[in-house]
């Protein structure tokens, strides 16, 4: 985790304090751009920086042109870069290997020879933010003309590695306000408290839970039913604390600069149905998928079947976004199916209406079902499918 390195602990206070004390908008923006570039270079290295610079240039000029076709082309470049760097081997294995093992081998060799050791740092976030920007410009939003501001939108260091996924319509006014010296002491204090909370979640809760899960999970089958659910709870809270801790640090650092980032979590395990869960979990990703996948596909405008299909597609993509492996896709599909059921079950005559009434009358029941559904989902997310299925059965004593 980048935020727990000594480098970051030395870099962030320097970047933030100098930004706050520098006079003048130009100096502030220049310093912040320099700091972000140093941050990106340090953690991504030359091999990770070059592809992002190329994508940045393509996106910046495509946006500046305001040409709809060029914007679409640039979006395709972003998607292609994401597929190439993150999903090349997965796609070759999934699409080519079943047809021709020899061709698949050749393609893999070819990809290995031109690819860096690991995908460029934060490529998924870059791709999603650039696509969002180009989509909005194509829809008529003003492009970012100031290259410094575009650079800052692209590589703003607090959110560079794991989000939250920014929207330029939110980010730019906040950046403008902060660069004019509008960052208040209260911002600094609240940001600092948020950063502290993030570190507490990560170091004091998520890391011990990770250690516990690593130790206990291999003996899942031998454990008592109650202990199995304790392990499930540990898995569920580990990912929440780890990811929301990371988001807290990112949001807190930005806030100390006087810049507001979108929230990413809002007590997701308190949700009373799956739709609500996804309005509370990784909010910046879910809203991105809603705005740039689900709604463009038709959203809920073309009947129940189409609505369910669109949800399915958006969540399969959501799963795949988390990593190039089938169990991520399955996790996305699992949630897509769950959302489909959640959105439509009340339309089933008699039974659906009855169940809906029960949930309305006993909201805790809905909360419990949602909790169990999402926790079982984490098994698919973290473990190979067969192992996840076995653990899920064992969780119910089967």
């Amino acid at each position: 985790m980048i935020f727990t390195t000594y480098w970051f602990l030395a870099f962030a206070p320097l970047a933030i304090v100098v930004f706050r004390i520098l006079p003048g908008k130009g100096a502030k923006l220049g310093w912040l751009a320099l700091a972000c570039a140093v941050f990106h270079y340090h953690f991504a290295g030359p091999a990770g920086v070059v592809p992002i610079i190329v994508l940045m240039i393509v996106t910046y000029f495509a946006g500046l042109s305001r040409h709809r076709g060029l914007c679409v082309a640039a979006m395709l470049v972003c998607v292609a870069a994401l597929c190439f760097y993150k999903y090349a081997f997965f796609l070759i294995g999934a699409a080519v290997a079943p047809i021709s093992a020899a061709l698949s081998g050749r393609l893999e060799e070819g990809a290995k020879s031109i690819m860096p050791g690991a995908p460029p740092l934060g490529i998924s976030f870059f791709a999603f933010e650039f696509i969002h920007y180009l989509f909005e410009v194509r829809r008529g939003q003003e492009p970012i003309r100031n290259p410094f501001k575009f650079l800052l939108f692209a590589i703003f260091f607090p959110s560079l590695v794991a989000g939250p996924i920014k929207r330029c319509a939110q980010f730019l006014p906040s950046l403008e306000q902060a660069s004019r010296g509008g960052a208040m002491g209260a911002d600094f204090a609240e940001g600092l408290a948020r950063v502290g909370m993030g570190f507490f979640k990560k170091v004091m809760i998520a890391d011990p839970l990770t250690s516990y899960v690593d130790e206990a999970q291999p003996h899942f089958a031998q454990e008592h039913l109650f202990t199995r659910w304790v392990i499930l709870a540990a898995i569920a809270f580990r990912i929440l604390m780890d990811f929301s801790g990371y988001s807290d640090i990112a949001i807190g650092c930005a806030r100390m600069l006087g810049i507001r980032l979108p929230e990413n979590f809002n007590w997701p395990y308190g949700a009373r149905n799956l739709q609500e869960f996804w309005r509370r979990w990784h909010i910046s990703l879910t809203s991105w998928l809603r705005d740039y996948v689900y709604i463009p596909l038709g959203g809920n405008r073309h009947g129940v079947a189409r609505r369910v299909f669109n949800g399915f597609a958006a969540f399969a993509l959501c799963g795949l976004w988390h990593g190039p492996a089938w169990h991520y896709v399955l996790w996305g599909v699992y949630h897509g199916a769950g959302l489909g059921v959640c959105a439509t079950y009340r339309k089933i005559p008699m039974a659906g209406i009855l169940i809906g009434r029960i949930f309305d009358k006993e909201p805790y029941l809905g909360w419990l079902v949602t909790l169990v559904f999402t926790w079982i989902g984490w098994l698919i997310f973290f473990y190979p499918v067969s192992e996840a299925m076995q653990m899920a059965r064992q969780a119910f004593g089967l």
């Binding site: 390195t5 000594y6 480098w7 602990l9 030395a10 340090h42 953690f43 290295g45 939110q170 006014p173 906040s174 306000q177 509008g182 208040m184 002491g185 600094f188 170091v203 004091m204 890391d207 011990p208 990770t210 250690s211 516990y212 130790e215 206990a216 507001r260």
Partner: protein, 405 residues
């Protein structure tokens, strides 16, 4: 955000608030740094015997150089000759209960003129923790002997092994080591290696910050005596992980206990143990034209270079390197030819360490099966024999260097 700007407080008030905040931060950090410094100067390991697993990196506890120096001071008065034991699990005393560990026998053998401290870490090399502490204390304890062990024909790194290099960096970046040009070159090569860019930055920042703030010492003091916060194989889950490390006993089993016999030479690992023994010399030796076993030229050059660079020249004369023999339980399974190769490897290793300016002996050749707890570790019986051997060597070094009248 498109929120309206709140009116800013007057500039003077803002500066005052910032001043209070940063002033408070500076005072707080200074206070923590002071507490850390105090912690580093105090020996908070009463009854220290050795670095048992709960207070080692294996259990996410990273002792500091100052902490180990404080332990050494508590074991040795300034008027005594300090005997620092480094090396690996063999010298740490695996298979020997804390009450009967071989360094206690060594202390008894040497008598009150010497103060022995066991700072051996499992899996470490001769230039790791104990060597660093010994070098840091060179001026405070000019009458000193450093003891470590190693396998035959094994090269060493002058900056320590990966797992324990954090101690070298602490001492190096606080300027407490002897300036040795060859080691400086090794440090530069290590830190400037392209793929270690991030690691080098982490080391530099960590050590610079720690030198000022002493957070490692402070947290170790808290973690050892009050509560531990990092999960590890010891009490991994909350709330057990909060248990302070002082509450974990040294549970090393006794190899001579009948209940342990089954674990000492398990048949299931026989093939693997034999492979390790064979590889010790097998990978380093080839046939000479006259049919004798001869160390491969590349390996010999490596050993000559790394042994010469291992310790600063002024400290080599008080360094004793023990080359550890394997248990006769396994040695008996070697062919005559393999045994001859092994003998040559031990002989050559001792000779090369001596050529480098250190003292060196091999041990274990005449030890029996019961003197070993397993392939390489000694039982308390073997520990007593080792203590006798080492005591003689230490006395000889002390006499040679004029430590005692």
């Amino acid at each position: 955000m498109s929120e309206n700007l709140s009116p800013l407080p007057p500039v003077g008030e803002r500066r005052l608030r910032s001043g209070w905040f940063f002033g408070g931060l500076a005072v707080g950090l200074a206070a923590l740094g002071f507490l850390g410094r105090r912690a580093g100067q105090t020996d908070y390991h009463p009854g220290f015997v050795r670095l048992s697993t709960p207070i080692t990196p294996e259990a996410n506890y990273y002792p500091t150089v100052d902490e180990l120096c404080a332990v050494a001071r508590s074991k040795c008065r300034p008027d005594q000759v300090l005997v620092v034991v480094g090396g690996n699990s063999v010298l740490e005393g695996v298979w020997q209960p804390a009450a009967e560990v071989w360094t206690r026998a060594l202390q008894a053998d040497l008598g009150p003129a010497y103060g022995v401290v066991n700072l051996a870490f499992r899996g470490s090399c001769p230039t790791d923790g104990g060597a660093v502490v010994s070098e840091v204390l060179r001026k405070e304890y000019p009458r000193q002997v450093y003891i470590a062990n190693d396998s035959p024909a094994t090269a060493v790194d002058s900056i320590g092994s990966d797992a324990y290099r954090f101690l070298f960096w602490q001492a190096y970046f606080s300027g407490r080591l002897v300036h040795v040009p060859m080691r400086e070159r090794r440090v530069r090569d290590y830190l400037l290696f392209p793929s270690r860019r991030s690691e080098a930055a982490e080391i530099l920042i960590r050590e610079t910050a720690d030198r000022a703030l002493r957070f490692h010492d402070l947290w170790n003091r808290v973690g050892y005596g009050h509560f531990f916060t990092v999960p590890s194989l010891y009490g991994s889950a909350f709330p057990q992980m909060l248990t302070p490390r002082c509450e974990f006993p040294d549970l090393e089993p006794d190899a001579t206990d009948p209940s342990q016999v089954a674990f000492r030479y398990p048949e299931s690992s026989e093939a693997m143990e034999l492979k390790i023994i064979r590889n010790l010399s097998g990978l380093a030796y080839g046939r000479a034209p006259d049919g004798r076993w001869e160390m491969l030229p590349g390996r010999r050059a490596d050993l000559i270079r790394t042994f010469a660079e291992a310790f600063p020249d002024p400290l080599k004369g008080r360094t004793l390197i023990l080359i550890s023999r394997s248990s006769p339980h396994y040695r008996a399974m070697l062919t005559a030819d393999e045994s001859a190769r092994d003998d040559q490897a031990f002989k050559d290793s001792v000779a090369l360490w001596r050529e480098a300016g250190c003292h060196s002996i091999e041990y274990g050749r005449d030890f029996g099966e019961d003197d070993f707890g397993d392939r390489t570790h000694l039982s308390k019986l073997g520990g007593r024999k080792l203590a006798d051997l080492v005591a003689n060597e230490v006395r000889a070094i002390a006499a040679q260097r004029g430590y005692l009248k």
